[in-house]
């Protein structure tokens, strides 16, 4: 049985007259131990998807549909207080920038302890001991002396480790990492990635790892899902996505990534992604796609399996693989 099973998850935000379709019918599975990488341009809905998995987008102005089955439980119908006891305990999240994701006016020790004590019945003293352990575990030297430090007194890498320590404090079954390394420089990025990988090895948690950057995720994920305008447009193993990118968007992403190097922000693809409140009828990528044909504007293509474990949503795939035409560079 998979750890997480998402079916047709859609999230839209009401904004006055308009409705922003940030996530548009996503389905995905995740096994324990498995790491799913999610990549896509800015605005493609990656963060909204992650937040929705934790029930953090719920509000009177949001419309959410679909199913989220987590560890045998349906999460979508949970009351807020039930949900909050899942958060941080069974599902945790690591954010992009620890500088802004940590409360600037509390010592990091307090921020760890409050998480621990929220979900586990520990005395303050025991929780503190546990915090020290956790800091040690994420590779922070002389952890005890760090407890009283404030986020601004730490380096970027160290803050991110604290963030991770908070996320794993209650041994979650699922870790949602939203671009956890983007704000870090390259060497630190690598350290943090390997830390996450190690922690996974130990605990066997499932991970969804969101990134702009295929290069960054390639080393630690098992599978990659490519998102565009709220949909998954291609999904497959790392090998399949990197070596046989089948969606024109994936191909363009990879090309952009190579051109810009590892650090590039993804703006190198011609044109703009569609505004989520004005999604085109048909394939959302069609307006920017150099291979677009008439049928692309007709209906939106469904994810179809093109080989074992490799799905693509593109009308071109319906006829023949086009990979040969799309050699890049």
């Amino acid at each position: 049985m998979p750890l997480l099973q998402v079916e047709h998850l859609s999230v839209s935000f009401k904004q006055g007259q308009h409705e922003s379709q940030a996530v548009n019918g996503i389905s995905l599975d995740l096994e324990p131990h498995q790491t799913l990488g999610v990549i896509g341009e800015s605005g493609s809905g990656k963060s909204v998807m992650l937040k929705s998995l934790m029930g953090l987008t719920r509000s009177p102005k949001t419309r959410i549909s679909g199913k989220i089955n987590f560890d045998g439980r349906e999460l979508t119908g949970l009351e807020e207080n039930e949900f909050s006891s899942v958060r941080g305990k069974e599902i945790s999240m690591v954010f992009q920038d620890a500088m802004t994701a940590l409360d600037p006016v509390f010592p990091v020790g307090d921020q760890l302890v409050e998480t621990i004590r929220r979900h586990q019945h520990l005395s303050k003293k025991d929780a503190l001991e546990k915090a020290v352990e956790l800091l040690a575990k994420v590779g922070i030297a002389s952890p005890r002396s760090r407890l009283d430090q404030y986020p601004h007194q730490m380096s970027g890498g160290m803050r991110q480790r604290v963030m991770i320590a908070i996320a794993i404090a209650c041994q979650p079954k699922l870790l949602l990492a939203d671009e956890p390394t983007t704000a870090l420089d390259v060497t630190i990025q690598a350290q943090v990635l390997s830390l996450i990988k190690e922690l996974q090895k130990e605990s066997g948690m499932g991970i969804i790892f969101v990134s702009h950057d295929i290069g960054a995720v390639a080393s630690i994920v098992d599978e990659i899902a490519v998102m565009y305008a709220g949909r998954i447009v291609e999904r497959g193993s790392v090998q399949q996505i990197i070596h046989q990118p089948s969606h024109p968007y994936t191909q363009a992403l990879l090309a952009a990534n190579v051109t810009l190097g590892m650090k590039g922000r993804l703006r190198a693809i011609q044109g703009q992604p569609p505004r989520p409140d004005r999604l085109p009828y048909g394939c959302a990528f069609a307006p920017r796609c150099q291979f677009a044909v008439d049928s692309c504007n007709g209906m939106s293509p469904k994810l179809t399996t093109i080989e074992q474990g490799h799905d693509v949503a593109c009308w071109l795939m319906e006829e023949e693989p086009v990979s040969a035409n799309m050699q890049v560079v």
Partner: protein, 314 residues
């Protein structure tokens, strides 16, 4: 600790400046204290005698140095108008003003914070609109008017609270009696800042709510109450700064409120001292208020750095 010491050292030139200003002000003011003391038809030698008694016949720089050397020893001389040691007058007055000021500050801080939080957490809803209306009222309703309405309601109609003064007959030193007397003046005085503080709390809170860490707090599974505590701690800095500034307003506003409620504070004392050109009282009063402001700044600074660790502690 060393920082505190530093701040005090830094304050010395400021205080020195204040002594100069205090001294200069009273001598620039039109009118002489002698006019209040000696009728115009008094003989010249009586006038000269009185001038001599108060040392007003010496050259100004000498008067200043004399005053300063006494002042640093804590001796501010005798009130010309009341013929009582200035120290004694000011000590009583400042104590009374502080009682009123602290009560008003407490009222406006607590009320402002509660209202601001309610408004901030219910942005755009009726409660938010109500709070902003109230805030506007606080700024536009004169303290005098509010004072009178409360007096009518709580003193005259309901008879719950006294309408003026600091104590009932024979009840000096009874804290409960004092509290009953301070309620209406403190609200009248503290009502204006309520609006300012609640708006500050609201704005500050709305700014904090937008920040990433609030989402992160929710992602950790924290409960509403715990999150609110984080929000408040983060919103506190600008609020405390504003409250600090408002304390200054309270000191200024207390003159009017003290008059309305016959509250024997610094405002009334200085007001009548200015009327009488009572130089020693005015000088010492200005110095005292200046010193209070300097102290208040230091305190606000310290509270700020206690609340926000990002402010450098050296």
């Amino acid at each position: 600790m060393t920082r505190l010491f530093h701040r005090f050292l830094q304050a010395i030139p400021t205080l020195f400046g204040i002594t100069l200003v205090a001294f200069a002000l009273v001598h620039i003011m039109p009118g002489s204290p002698i006019d209040a003391l000696v009728p115009p038809d008094a003989s010249a030698d009586v006038r000269a005698q009185v001038i001599h008694i108060y040392g007003l016949d010496k050259p100004l720089p000498v008067q200043y140095v004399l005053w300063l050397t006494h002042a640093v020893r804590g001796d501010f001389g005798m009130s010309i108008g009341m013929r009582v040691p200035v120290n004694q007058l000011l000590a009583q007055a400042i104590q009374n003003t502080l009682i009123l000021g602290v009560a008003a500050a407490f009222f406006s801080f607590v009320t402002g914070t509660v209202l601001g939080v309610l408004a901030g957490l219910n942005q755009g809803k009726w409660i938010d609109r109500m709070v902003s209306t109230l805030g506007l009222a606080g700024v536009s309703i004169p303290a005098y008017w509010l004072a009178m309405v409360m007096v009518i309601l709580f003193s005259i109609q309901l008879g719950w609270l006294p309408s003026s003064g600091m104590h009932s007959q024979g009840q000096e030193g009874n804290v409960l009696d004092l509290l009953a007397h301070v309620v209406i003046p403190a609200i009248a005085l503290g009502f204006t800042p309520v609006g300012v503080i609640s708006r500050m709390v609201r704005t500050s809170l709305l700014q904090v709510v937008k920040q990433d860490f609030v989402l992160a707090l929710r992602a950790k599974g924290l409960m509403r109450r715990q999150i609110l505590w984080h929000l408040l701690r983060n919103a506190a800095l600008p609020v405390l700064t504003v409250t600090g500034l408002e304390l200054g307003y309270l000191l200024g506003g207390s003159i009017l409120v003290e008059t309305i409620f016959a509250w024997p504070g610094l405002g009334g004392l200085l007001n009548s001292a200015i009327g009488l050109r009572d130089i020693p009282v005015i000088q010492a009063g200005i110095l005292l208020i200046g010193t209070l402001f300097v102290l208040m700044n230091i305190v606000v600074d310290f509270v700020n750095s206690a609340v926000d660790p990002r402010i450098q502690r050296t």
